[in-house]
């Protein structure tokens, strides 16, 4: 039987196409990335070895640090605000009748299936200073002084973009949590309810602790997803005003494709890859370490 599977030819035929695709387009680019980050490169020619100068330039530019602040602000918003809200939605879904749950689920997932271009453009219209939804609402309830030109003011631009991102994926994350809740055996809850625990207590003491594997999965997914935050910024503000709303990936794109400093762009990319690896390592190491069986 083993011999039947493993003729040399069939091994080649089955393994090589996928491994080749993966290696050429996913792994191999990391090598020229590191190499380019040590050189000056304008996108067409290599202009010589410069050692770690690209990295020094990156660390000494204020845009680089601003981009980091913005990126981690988005990570913070989606992890510290988004995930708890999603968890609440999931717990709520679980407590509903099937019919109501169906409606709620269908609508909660809807924003996540729309493309980021459509959602971001829609939010551009919400934030419009003259006729946008937010300013109109604020004016109509007499809070005209709270209105802002949301996407062009230094202080409001990043939180505004963050809110649209939060809104788009909150329902999807709730679905993931809810899928986890469904896998918990019902008798866990019944026992607690007989003991007189209320909904809140059951959620905090039973449901959430039993969901730690899913929480970890969603945490990794949304952390890495928001680390690579780019598209919303591109559509809503193009990094503006000035460099105020650039994220790390945006800064990397900008440096390479708009100022033709490919060497510096790849230096930012290399730093960023290390950050992603470090963060996924930290989550793997410190969040929910023991495996649950039930």
């Amino acid at each position: 039987m083993n011999k039947y599977y493993s003729t040399k030819w069939s091994l080649l035929v089955f393994a090589v196409p996928a491994l080749l695709l993966f290696t050429v387009f996913c792994v191999y680019p990391l090598l020229p990335e590191i190499w380019m980050s040590l050189h000056r490169n304008d996108g067409f020619r290599n202009l010589g070895f410069v050692g770690l100068d690209n990295f020094k330039d990156a660390f000494s530019s204020s845009s680089f640090w601003l981009a980091h602040r913005n990126t981690y602000l988005i990570v913070g918003i989606s992890v510290l605000i988004g995930l708890p809200l999603s968890m609440m939605l999931a717990l709520f879904m679980d407590a509903q009748t099937p019919w109501f749950r169906r409606i709620f689920k269908t609508s909660a997932m809807f924003p996540a299936i729309l493309s980021v271009t459509v959602v971001s453009e829609m939010w551009v219209s919400f934030y419009d200073p003259n006729w946008g939804l937010f300013n109109s609402l604020l004016k109509s309830i007499g809070l005209g002084s709270w209105t802002h030109s949301w996407l062009t003011e230094r202080r409001t631009v990043m939180p505004s973009i963050g809110l649209s991102f939060l809104w788009q994926y909150i329902g999807l994350n709730a679905m993931l949590f809810y899928a986890g809740i469904k896998t918990i055996p019902k008798n866990y809850f019944e026992a607690a309810l007989i003991d007189g625990a209320n909904f809140f207590k059951v959620s905090v003491k039973i449901t959430i602790p039993l969901l730690q594997d899913i929480i970890k999965y969603v945490l990794i997914l949304s952390t890495l997803g928001s680390m690579a935050f780019y598209s919303q910024v591109r559509v809503m503000t193009s990094g503006g005003p000035g460099d105020v709303s650039r994220t790390v990936v945006y800064q990397m794109y900008y440096t390479a494709f708009e100022t033709s400093e490919f060497g510096k762009g790849t230096a930012i990319a290399v730093i960023f890859i290390l950050e992603c690896l470090l963060i996924s390592f930290l989550i793997q190491r410190f969040v929910a370490r023991e495996k649950l069986e039930f």
Partner: protein, 270 residues
Amino acid sequence: MRILSRSFWLLVSGTFLFPLYWMISISLKSKDEAYNNPFGIPRSWDWPNFKNALSQYHFFVYLENSTIYTAGTIVITLMAGSMLAYCLSRMQWKFSALALFYVSLGLIVPIEVVLIPLFQLLKLLHLKDSYLGLILPYSGFSIASCVLMLYAFLRSLPKELEEAACMDGANVYQTFFRIIFPIIMPALVTQCVLLFMRIWNEFPLAFIIASRDHFRPLTVGLLNFFVSVGVSDWGLIGASMLLSSLPTIIVYMVGNEKIEDALTAGAILK
């Protein structure tokens, strides 16, 4: 109390469905009405925005491109991915554990970070501004999750069927395509849905690689249309947004339970 909480949550679902209402309503408004009454119900039902959108916005070009990119990626990823998963789960091979680990590394690298060298590589291979220029990188980046999911699925399958096929004199290719392929169909459908959602809406890579209008997918084409129209004509923009979203909305209406299962499959399976 129950009524109160129900209505609160209906309101919450309402905000999630708001974009649908907003796109439909603004696409029916004239330029002036879009300014004076941007979020209300349209006063008159007009269709000129759609006519203009269809003539100015290259909807069908982008639709065709998005379809080619998505279908191409799905076909290549599912074929190559299922074959590798089969090979890793069944064939005796010195490096199969290593290969599995190697492929799973693909889950950590986000596509955005290798964009610059990928751009150079595609230029070198003369694949920039071609369909394969996006399909191949998309497939490369989709292989990891596809292989891992199918590998877990195949590991749980008994080997008896294949042994029987072997007795009957089928070779390994026949066994794979005639027997294994139909059995793993549910997992393939799940992957297919996931790939559709991911590739159809992919933005960052397409924005850089498909720079010529002729090769742009819907996501990028819509942004460029948006930039060229400016914020002066929201009725027209709304119509083009609605057109661009129609394929996904239709897919979602037809298969929303399938989509839900697929999206949550990864979370439970791990």
